[in-house]
Amino acid sequence: MADAHAVADHDTPAPTAHASGGHDHAHPTEAQYWKVFAVLVVLTAIEVAWSFLGLEGPALVLPLVVMMVVKFLLVAGVFMHLYFDMKAINGKLFTWAFGSALALAGLVYLIVFAAFEFRISGAF
């Protein structure tokens, strides 16, 4: 048992593995971080250019929203390690908990938005 403690206490993380958080799994390399950063910068540049094209309505808004969601997913998935954590950990339970919380939050906002819209438009 003493040996077991000694092994556990001096268990240092491998350079390419993430040893904190109770699980050992690979995280992106620095080169991958730079690539994601480059994609984020390019997407931001396209967003800004798109907003100056003089488009209106869905032609303006939809691409901007799509690019915003892609940027959101890249930061959350790669920089925040969510994509890698979800692959490595107790996937089903985490996915259900995360997904249901996200769905609930979305539903709450839809209801609040609808309530305010109806109130502003005088429907009730």
Partner: protein, 238 residues
């Protein structure tokens, strides 16, 4: 006797396994497979999502109502800002778009994205015990965050000079509350980064505390993600 020895060995093996599966600083892992600290931090970020979701929703609803009243020429709304200021441009364009300096805000967005890169590189460096690069990237991230805050102060001052304040109408209140709350979060993140830097300088930020840096990183990236939403929803979509 053999059974007792086997049970003892099982107990020792279980104890050993417990230690191996613990996070270095996060304690026992949860049934999700994450450490307690990380799971708690994700729950905190979940509550932050609700906060910013509410602020963004409030902004959108307030802006729609404000523009409707401005276009209708409601004197109670139009009279909230001095003549010859942004209000005339709001009425003419039927949006709040004229107040924004998109190239400047794009630069701010770039600065914040760059800071997120600095944060992941700091975490990567601390994970492999590279103290020098940990300090370099923590300092870079904190400086870029400060630059972003400086830009926000400049922007707020410009809006104030053009007649839009926190209290003069619904739109001003919603805009300054949303972007101000974000700025406060960035400032909180900078303080965390400076604390990490001091820990590193005192030799207390080693590879076995990589999770501490990762948690601060989660907060920093969350702030970045919120800005991704604010930049598109508030600044780019009229």
């Amino acid at each position: 006797m053999t059974d007792i020895a086997a049970a003892h060995e099982d107990g020792a093996a279980l104890h050993h396994d417990d230690h191996q599966t613990d996070g270095h600083h996060g304690g026992h892992r949860t049934s999700f497979g994450l450490s307690n600290m990380k799971l708690a931090f994700w729950l905190f970020l979940g509550s932050e999502c609700l906060l910013f979701g509410a602020l963004i929703s409030t902004y959108l609803l307030s802006k729609a109502r404000f523009i409707t009243e401005v276009v209708a020429g409601n004197p109670n709304v139009v009279g909230t800002m001095p003549e010859g200021t942004l209000m005339a441009e709001f009425a003419e364009s039927q949006s709040v778009e004229p107040m924004f300096d998109i190239p400047f805000t794009s630069l701010s967005s770039f600065v914040l994205l760059m800071s997120s890169l600095g944060m992941v590189l700091a975490h990567s460096a601390v994970s492999r015990g590279d103290h020098r690069n940990t300090r370099i990237w923590l300092t870079t991230t904190a400086l870029l965050g400060s630059l972003f805050i400086g830009g926000q102060v400049y922007e707020f001052t410009a809006f104030y000079r053009e007649g839009l304040t926190f209290t003069n109408n619904l739109f001003g209140s919603a805009f300054f509350t949303l972007t101000g709350f974000h700025g406060v979060h960035v400032t909180g993140g900078i303080l965390m980064l400076v604390s990490l830097l001091f820990l590193s300088l005192r030799g207390k930020l080693n590879a076995d505390r990589a999770e501490t840096v990762e948690l601060v990183g989660l907060y920093w990236h969350f702030v970045d993600v919120v800005w991704v939403l604010i930049f598109t929803i508030v600044y780019l979509i009229p």
